[in-house]
C-alpha cells in the first residue's frame, strides 16, 4: 500500500518517509513488545524469533492498512451539500499485479522461514526418524530398563541402513506405529534422552519413569537434557501443552505419540490439557518441574520405589 500511496500522492518523498516509519515501527514493535510467557525450553527462543518476525510483518500490514483506511475516510469523506461522485477509476492493472506479487512473496518467505523454524524445532526430523524406526520403539518397550545405547544403535542402523523406500508405514500390520509431533533432531542427543511415559485420562496426566518405575502426577525433568515423552490416551483426546515450552501435542487414543523437548530454565510451569475432554477439562492441569541436573538426580533417588518393581507400581505418588 506504500506504493499505492506513491501512485496517488505526487510527493513521493512523503510516502517514502511514511513507509519507512511504518517499517521501523513494525520492527520496533516486534522487537520490544513481548506478548509471550517466559521461555523455558530450547524450542522457545526459536519459536519466539518466528513470533517476532510475524509480529513485525503483522504490525506493518495492520498499521499500514488501517492508517490508509482512516486517512481515506477523513480525507475523502463527503462534505455536507456535496453531491458529486468520486473519480471514475475502475482499476489499474500494474497496481493489481503489484499487490498480488508483494503478498505472495511475503507469504512465501514466511512459509519457508517457518518451515525452517519447524525443522530446527525438530518437527520434521522426528517424524522421519520415527517413521523409519518403529522397532526402536519396540526395543524401548521391551528393553525394560531403557537401554539407551541399544535403542540408539538400533535406530541408527535403521535410518543409516538401506531400508526400502516403501518404508514400514506401508505395512503397519503388526508393528505399533508411532505418531509424532516435535522430535529429537539427531540421534546422538536421543541416546542421552530421559524417557518418560505419559498416560492422559479424564481428567489427569500420569507420568511413569520406566527406568526407575516412579509414577507421578507431576512431570519432573532435568534442565539441559532432552526428554522424550511417550504419550498415550486412555479414553478421549487430550492435549499436552506447556506454554513456557511453546509445545503442544494431541494425545489421541489409539495413537501412541512421541514428543521431545529440552527444558532450559529451572522452575515450575503449568501443564495444560488443550483439547476438550469432558466436564472437568478446565481442571485437567498439572505441573512440570524443571530441576538442575543434580536436584533431578536427588529427586529420582528420593522417589524411586525401594521395593521390587512389582510392588512399586501400586501408586506411590511422590511429591517434589
Amino acid at each position: 500500500m506504500i506504493v499505492l500511496a506513491a501512485v496517488a500522492i505526487p510527493t513521493a518523498l512523503v510516502t517514502l518517509l511514511i513507509g519507512m516509519a511504518l517499517v521501523l515501527t513494525g520492527l520496533w514493535v516486534g522487537e520490544n513488545v513481548s506478548l509471550l510467557p517466559q521461555d523455558a525450553s530450547s524450542n522457545a527462543p526459536v519459536y519466539d524469533s518466528l513470533f517476532q518476525v510475524l509480529f513485525s510483518i503483522g504490525t506493518i500490514l495492520f498499521v499500514g492498512i488501517v492508517g490508509l483506511l482512516v486517512f481515506s475516510l477523513i480525507r475523502f469523506r463527503r462534505r455536507p451539500g456535496e453531491s458529486l461522485d468520486g473519480a471514475a477509476i475502475e482499476g489499474n492493472l500494474p497496481l493489481e499485479i503489484l499487490w498480488t506479487a508483494i503478498p505472495a512473496v511475503v507469504v512465501l518467505f514466511v512459509g519457508i522461514y517457518s518451515y525452517d523454524i519447524y525443522e530446527r524445532m525438530g518437527g520434521m526430523a522426528s517424524l522421519n526418524h520415527h517413521d523409519l524406526g518403529p522397532q526402536s520403539e519396540l526395543a524401548h518397550r521391551h528393553g525394560g530398563h531403557g537401554d539407551a545405547m541399544v535403542m540408539a544403535s538400533i535406530s541408527a542402523s535403521d535410518s543409516g541402513g538401506d531400508t526400502t523406500p516403501a518404508g514400514p508405514s506401508s505395512d503397519p500390520g503388526s508393528r505399533p506405529r508411532v505418531w509424532g509431533g516435535i522430535g529429537v533432531p539427531d540421534q546422538a542427543v536421543e541416546a542421552e534422552a530421559v524417557s518418560v511415559d505419559l498416560t492422559a485420562m479424564q481428567f489427569a496426566f500420569i507420568f511413569h519413569y520406566p527406568d526407575t518405575n516412579i509414577i507421578s502426577g507431576e512431570l519432573h525433568v532435568p534442565a539441559g537434557r532432552t526428554v522424550e515423552l511417550h504419550m498415550e490416551a486412555r479414553d478421549v483426546i487430550h492435549a499436552f501443552w506447556v506454554p513456557q515450552f511453546r509445545l503442544k501435542q494431541d494425545v489421541i487414543p489409539g495413537q501412541p505419540t512421541v514428543l521431545s523437548f529440552t527444558a532450559t530454565r529451572p522452575g515450575s510451569y503449568p501443564i495444560v490439557c488443550a483439547e476438550l475432554c469432558g466436564p472437568y477439562h478446565g481442571g485437567m492441569r498439572s505441573t512440570v518441574v524443571v530441576h538442575e541436573p543434580d536436584a533431578y538426580e536427588a529427586w529420582l533417588r528420593q522417589n524411586t520405589p525401594t521395593a521390587s518393581p512389582t510392588v512399586a507400581n501400586s501408586g506411590t505418588t511422590p511429591t517434589a
Partner: protein
C-alpha cells in the same frame, strides 16, 4: 438502445397487493407461510437468523459470565460444555450461514441476474423451512435426558461417543437438516446465477455478490455432503456401536477430523465470501466510485474457492499428521492470504479518492476491513505449523476466528441491514442510533476479543470453565466487552422496530445506486419489476470526471489500465 429512467418501469402508486399464488396469504402473514417469493424467503431467513443470533448471544453471555471468575461457579461444568457447544452450533449453522447466504442471497441474487425469482422457488422454500425445525431440535436437546451435546461444535470422537447419547444424536440430526438446507440453497444459487440470467447480461457484468455467492455455493455443494456423510457415520458409532471413529473398536479418530474439517474449513469461506460480496456492493455506492479491479476481484474469489478446499488439515497440526501434510497445508493456507489480500487492497483503492458517506452502513463496512485484516494477519500466523503448535486450541484461536466471523461477517451483516433496510421496508433507519450502535459494537467487540489473543498466547486453553487466576483480569475485560456487545443490540433493535413504522420514507433509490434491486420500488413488487427487468451492464458505473464533462465516461471503462489518478 433506448434510455430509460427508473420511472419507466416502476408504477407510481402501491404495487398490486395480490400475489399470483392465490392461496398465499398477504401482508405479514406471508412471512409465516410457505411462500415462494424469493424476497419473502430472504426476509424469513433474515428474521429467523436474528432470532438465533440473540439466542446464541445469550449463550455467549453465559460463557462470559462463567469466565468472569477463574473458578467454575455460574453453571455446572456439564452445562457449560452444553452451552459452548450450542453457542458454536447456533451461531454458525443458524445465524451466519443462513443469513449471509440464505437471507441476502435470496433477496438479492434474482434482482442481480434480472430474474423474477430463484430457479427453484419451491426448493427454496423447503430449504428455509428446514431451518426452524432444526433450530427447535437443537433447543429441545437441552431439555432431554442427559442434556444437549457437550462435545463442542466440532463433536470430536471419542468424546462425542462417550457423552450423553441422546443430546448428541439430536445435535447430529439438527446439523444434518441444516446441511441439507444449505445444499438446497447452494444448488438454487448456482442454477439461478448460471441459468436464469436475463438475456444480454454477461457473467462479467454481474454484481460482485453474485460471484461471491457462486463461489460460496460451489463450496457448499462440494463440502457440505462430506460433513453429512461423516455425521451419519458418527451417529452409527453412537447408536449402533460401530467403530468408525472409536479407537476402542479399532477405529480412527483422525479420519473424523479430516472429514470434519474438509467441510468446516470451507465453512469459514461459506461464511466469509458472501460477506466479501456484500461489502463489494456497499462500498462503491457509499464512496461514489466504481468497484476497483472488478476482474481481479472475480479471480480472487475463485482462487479462494480452490485454495479453500485444500487447506483443511491446518486445523490438525497437533494431531500427529505426517510432515508432508503439515508442510503442504502450511503453504496452501498461507497462500489464501494472496487472493484475500487482493480483495482488501481493491476495497481500499475503491475508497481512495471517493466521496465517502460516513453513514452506518459505511462505518460497519470499514470496521469489517479493520477487523478482518487483523483476523487475517493472525490467520496467516496460525497457518505456520510451529506457531500453531503453541496456540492451537487456545483462546488465541478463539480470538482469531471471532475476528473473522464476528468482526468480519457479522459486521457486514449489520452494514447490509443498514444498507438494504430501505429496500426491504421502504423506510430509512435512524442514522444517529445506527452510529451509536456501531460505536458500541466496535468498542465492545474489540474489548471482548482483543485480550483473548494474549490469554491464548500465555496459556489459557479454549473451552474451559475454569482457568488460572492470573488470567482473571483480562477475562473480566473480555466479559465487559461482551456486555457492551449485548447492550449494543438494543439501539439496533429499537432502530429496526421503530423505523419500520416511523422511519423517514426512503423512496425507491435513497443511495442513488445502480445495482438492479434499487431500480424498482421499495419494497419491490411481487415479481420484482412491473414490466421489463432492467439490463444493468455496469453495476458499478459511479464516478464522474471532476468537471462532469462527459456522461459517456461515467462508467470509466476507458480508464481501465490507465495510469491512475
Amino acid at each position: 438502445m433506448t434510455l430509460a429512467s427508473p420511472t419507466d418501469f416502476q408504477p407510481q402508486g402501491e404495487p398490486p397487493a395480490s400475489s399470483p399464488g392465490g392461496l398465499q396469504p398477504d401482508g405479514w402473514l406471508r412471512y409465516l407461510s410457505f411462500s415462494l417469493d424469493h424476497k419473502v424467503i430472504g426476509l424469513q431467513y433474515l428474521v429467523c437468523g436474528f432470532f438465533f443470533y440473540f439466542l446464541g448471544g445469550a449463550l455467549a453471555g453465559v460463557i462470559r459470565t462463567e469466565l468472569a471468575s477463574p473458578i467454575s461457579d455460574f453453571v455446572s461444568r456439564e452445562t457449560y460444555n452444553e452451552v459452548l457447544t450450542l453457542h458454536g452450533t447456533v451461531m454458525i449453522f443458524l445465524w451466519i450461514v443462513p443469513v449471509v447466504n440464505g437471507a441476502f442471497g435470496n433477496y438479492l441474487i434474482p434482482f442481480y441476474v434480472g430474474a423474477r425469482d430463484m430457479a427453484f422457488p419451491r426448493l427454496n422454500a423447503v430449504a428455509f423451512w428446514l431451518i426452524p425445525p432444526a433450530g427447535l431440535l437443537l433447543i429441545t436437546s437441552y431439555f432431554v435426558q442427559g442434556g444437549a451435546a457437550q462435545s463442542g461444535w466440532t463433536a470430536y470422537p471419542p468424546l462425542s461417543i462417550t457423552t450423553p447419547a441422546l443430546g448428541q444424536v439430536l445435535w447430529i440430526l439438527s446439523v444434518l437438516l441444516l446441511g441439507g438446507s444449505s445444499i438446497f440453497g447452494g444448488i438454487n444459487f448456482i442454477a439461478t446465477i448460471l441459468k436464469l440470467r436475463r438475456p444480454g447480461l454477461k457473467m462479467m457484468q454481474l454484481p460482485m455478490y453474485c460471484w461471491a455467492m457462486l463461489g460460496t455455493s460451489i463450496l457448499v455443494v462440494l463440502s457440505t455432503p462430506v460433513l453429512a456423510g461423516t455425521l451419519i457415520l458418527l451417529s452409527f458409532d453412537i447408536i449402533a456401536h460401530t467403530g468408525f471413529f472409536n479407537p476402542a473398536l479399532g477405529g480412527n479418530v483422525v479420519v473424523y477430523q479430516h472429514l470434519f474439517w474438509f467441510y468446516s474449513h470451507p465453512a469459514v469461506y461459506i461464511m466469509v465470501l458472501p460477506a466479501f460480496g456484500l461489502v463489494s456492493e456497499i462500498l462503491p455506492i457509499h464512496a461514489r466510485k466504481p468497484l476497483f479491479g472488478y476482474t481481479t476481484m472475480v479471480y480472487s474469489i475463485m482462487g479462494i474457492v480452490v485454495l479453500g478446499l485444500v487447506v483443511w488439515a491446518h486445523h490438525m497440526f497437533t494431531s500427529g499428521t505426517p510432515p508432508w501434510m503439515r508442510l503442504f497445508f502450511t503453504i496452501a493456507t498461507s497462500f489464501i492470504a494472496v487472493p484475500t489480500g487482493i480483495k482488501f487492497f481493491n476495497w481500499l483503492a475503491t475508497l481512495w479518492g471517493g466521496k465517502i458517506a460516513l453513514n452506518s452502513a459505511m462505518l460497519f463496512a470499514c470496521a469489517f476491513i479493520v477487523n478482518f485484516v487483523f483476523g487475517g494477519i493472525t490467520g496467516v500466523a496460525l497457518a505456520q505449523v510451529p506457531f500453531d503448535i503453541h496456540v492451537h486450541d487456545t483462546y488465541f484461536v478463539v480470538a482469531h476466528f471471532h475476528y473473522i466471523v464476528y468482526g468480519g461477517t457479522v459486521f457486514v451483516i449489520f452494514s447490509s441491514v443498514y444498507h438494504w433496510y430501505p429496500k426491504f421496508t421502504g423506510r430509512m433507519l435512524n442514522e444517529h442510533l445506527g452510529r451509536f450502535h456501531f460505536l458500541l459494537t466496535f468498542i465492545g467487540f474489540n474489548l471482548c476479543f482483543a485480550p483473548q489473543h494474549w490469554l491464548g498466547l500465555n496459556g489459557m486453553p479454549r473451552r474451559v470453565a475454569e482457568y488460572d487466576p492470573s488470567f482473571a483480569t483480562w477475562n473480566q475485560v473480555s466479559s465487559v466487552g461482551a456486555l457492551l456487545m449485548a447492550i449494543s443490540s438494543l439501539p439496533f433493535l429499537i432502530n429496526i422496530l421503530v423505523s419500520a413504522y416511523r422511519g423517514e420514507i426512503a423512496g425507491d433509490n435513497p443511495w442513488r445506486a445502480l445495482t438492479p434491486e434499487w431500480l424498482t420500488t421499495s419494497p419491490p413488487p411481487v415479481e420484482n419489476w412491473i414490466g421489463e427487468a432492467p439490463l444493468v451492464t455496469h453495476p458499478y458505473g459511479y464516478g464522474s470526471a471532476q468537471d462532469q464533462i462527459d456522461l459517456g465516461a461515467a462508467t470509466g471503462r476507458d480508464l481501465w489500465g490507465g495510469p491512475g489518478l
